[in-house]
Assembly symmetry: C2
Homo-oligomer: 468 residues x 2
């Protein structure tokens, strides 16, 4: 990460977090340069980045100030899914997009994964090798689902640090979050049932619903505030909703996070109607804030929340390790895991448990979040510089996606194809919707070190967008 | 393995394999003792074991001879499933049996797994650790399904050594054989379809069919010759069979192996009716014979066989690695794998690939097969000694299960419960059938080093069986 970006990111955090209020004067370039022991040019570059991003303004012969009415980019509109339920037809498009992002030579703005360069591979390898060497052969028979006691203890400890009491008896280890989500969905639905999902939503949710023969009701999302709970309340009265599948923190693809009070409201609403909540929380460790938002699981008083987590995005991509804290459904979940794949790779479970215990996971997370925040800032700058006016975007409080609403005449499938021709991937909006809505939306991946090539790719996309 | 058992096993192999014919005289105790440099007592013990097992007879003042009409134990009867199709109701019993076998203090005659002491753990750990250390971070993005090229090449090479040409493009890596089987079944059926299965069958097959809302038609099995192909032919004319799920080699639980000519007949029959065959071949590497029987996949001329294999029983229990060579369904299988769990743990894939390339897999297999053969022989002896007359059993040509038909009044569920009370597990017959048939059958695990405790457990079971 370039130094100026780190400085800009820190100040941006202070402004967004309220430590620097509208109208406050920033330190002069000279004084910040001295106090931080960095060059004045670096400070100046950071201030210019914040200015380009609309957070601060330069007043002649006076200095830099936090803007009164911050010239924030406009966030996308609240989604307006059709209110009836749908049988799904997910297209080949999801796989085309995934396929295109595999090639390391493309600019991976359409990738679903953060850059593999951000992870502690040598440490992971050390703990994996050591766990395998010390594997008690009999544990391969004894550690069938719910899974390794060591690992489940470490996961329970992380809940405890958030102030949540989640016993190891309700934690079932899985081969990543997607297996957890699929098993959870099987556990609480039967073919033909109706479930509520977000609009837009993670395509894995659409595929799972299609595979299991489920009807879906799409609930509107605000692009930063998250799920429209009133709309959900109405949907519950109109449709026989058997379960909900929601991402309540850093939602995929919008990045929206439901506030804690609204998560509590959600948990109570669903408990009152005896509706289980499958809570996909694969990105929660990527929240930039030092005090992260809790999941809805924290407000689950009746054991109806199946909280699905993963180490794939925050610690060990490719190791395939996740879990579900399944509340009252944990015994059933454990059996379904046995039926699906017997167990999760035991050396992997124990290696990650050792890494969590001794490997400095939190130190790694601090650095990862800082890197992702810096890239996000750089991406926002690049959009502002290169995208034609009229696009809308909100900077999520974590993760590595931007959900960009382009002008209404833009066809993101066409953008996807044209960009691919010049070595750039993007994820087109329609893959995030049961009815292939969001025709003029793009999901852009900002989870890679921001380079000149990335900025040029944004510039190229901007040029493409001007054609419509 | 005790020395006398190794000798007995070798001779038993020669007799069963035809190298020693009925009426042939065996070497004298003294001459074998000298030529093998083992004590006469050991030779005598080996001969007594073979005699107890009905393979040879002592003729006074003459020596030991291969029996004319070998007093073989009688094999169980050919199964007689009801001929109509069934909607399933698999009980809690499968899970109770699995649960009971986890405890390392019980005598694991009911376990589904071979003894973990039989596997090359230090070598596996070394290759796993080394693969993790050398993992190219970008490969975690690039090696999505179908999976690691290295591993798929190694798997293709093993097919090639059998004389089978299976290209890496049709191999999809999975988290063990069960995931492979589940994905294969999803790929070729829709809810409500009818599939043909064996009777008795692996309970994982029953659970999968139940979960996917499939009807099953149970096809009779001969306890050593395997599937009754004529019965299958009739069933195809009577029911709309959309797919078959068969274990054609060392079938679970019977241990039956369909001969190669009959496998060819099976493949042709199904191809003629455009019916895909899901071939569960998880035990094929455990065949005792130096020249193993090929799978039905070897006779697949139209790409309709989905051949599912695993390293869990022959190399790396708990690592959770398997595959499917999916013929014409491989592209669909690959997508289903992504939808189910994104990918299989990459360090595990690459570690096993390295082990296959450099780790002496075949040397390990030779020893494993010898150990399993010795335990099987010892188990057959113990049954003969301790079980009440009237039971039927056939010694399979590999693997580690005996499928024992007890007297008709025996209730194996009751045996299961009573045995558990005294620290012994057994797998009761009804868990292997859609209608909970096989009430008087037991599946016994012989895949553990045979000890005094095991023999005493067989004796205890014998005493229990006399009560009925």
């Amino acid at each position: 990460v370039k130094l100026y970006r780190a400085v800009a990111q820190e100040l941006s955090g202070m402004i967004r977090g309220g430590s620097l209020a509208a109208g406050d004067q920033l330190p002069s370039v000279r004084s910040l340069s001295r106090s931080r022991k960095i060059s004045p040019a670096t400070v100046l570059k950071a201030y210019e980045a914040l200015e380009a991003n609309g957070l601060i303004e330069a007043r002649p012969r006076s200095g830099y100030y936090v803007r009164e009415h911050q010239k924030q980019p406009i966030p996308p509109q609240t989604s307006r899914p059709k209110a009836n339920s749908t049988r799904l037809d997910v297209s080949d498009l999801v796989f085309q997009t995934l396929e295109a992002s595999r090639n390391r030579k493309v600019v991976p703005l359409g990738s679903a994964f953060p850059s593999p360069t951000y992870f502690p591979w040598p440490k992971l390898a050390r703990y994996l090798g050591s766990s395998a060497r010390h594997l008690d052969p009999w544990s391969t028979v004894e550690s069938l689902p719910p899974g390794s006691v060591d690992l489940r203890q470490q996961i329970a400890k992380r809940y405890l640090r958030l102030g949540m009491s989640v016993g190891i008896e309700q934690i079932v280890v899985t081969a990543g979050a997607l297996e957890a989500l699929n098993l959870a969905l099987q556990s609480v639905t039967r073919p033909g049932d109706t479930i509520a999902i977000e609009s837009p939503t993670f395509y894995g949710c659409l595929q799972a619903a299609q595979r299991l023969g489920l009807q879906v009701v799409e609930i509107p999302m605000h692009p930063t505030e998250g799920l429209d709970i009133e709309a959900l309340r109405t949907a519950i009265t109109r449709f026989p909703i058997r379960a909900c599948w929601f991402m309540t923190t850093l939602q995929h693809p919008t990045g929206a996070t439901l506030s804690q009070p609204r998560k509590r409201e959600l948990a109570r609403l669903l408990a009152g109607h005896d509706i289980p909540l499958i809570e996909d929380d694969a990105y929660s460790e990527l929240q930039f804030a030092s005090k992260p938002e809790l999941p809805a699981k924290a407000f689950d008083e009746t054991g109806r929340v199946l909280h699905c987590g993963s180490f794939s995005k925050c610690l060990a991509p490719g190791y395939r390790l996740g879990w579900v804290a399944a509340g009252r459904y944990s015994a059933d979940l454990s059996r379904r895991k046995i039926e699906a794949s017997i167990a999760t790779s035991l050396p992997v479970q124990q290696g990650i448990a050792q890494m969590l215990r001794h490997g400095g996971f939190d130190t790694h997370l601090t650095k990862l979040r800082r890197d992702l925040a810096a890239s996000q800032l750089a991406a926002m700058e690049s959009l502002q510089r290169y995208f034609p006016a009229g696009y809308r975007v909100a900077a999520p409080r974590g993760g590595y996606f931007l959900w960009v609403e382009c002008a209404s005449q833009v066809d993101s499938l066409d953008v996807h194809r044209r960009a691919l021709d010049v070595g750039i991937t993007v994820a087109p909006g329609p893959i995030f919707s049961a009815r292939q809505q969001f025709k003029n939306y793009l999901r852009l991946n900002t989870g890679h070190p921001w380079t000149g090539a990335t900025a040029r790719a944004i510039q190229t996309l901007g040029t493409l967008l001007r054609r419509y």
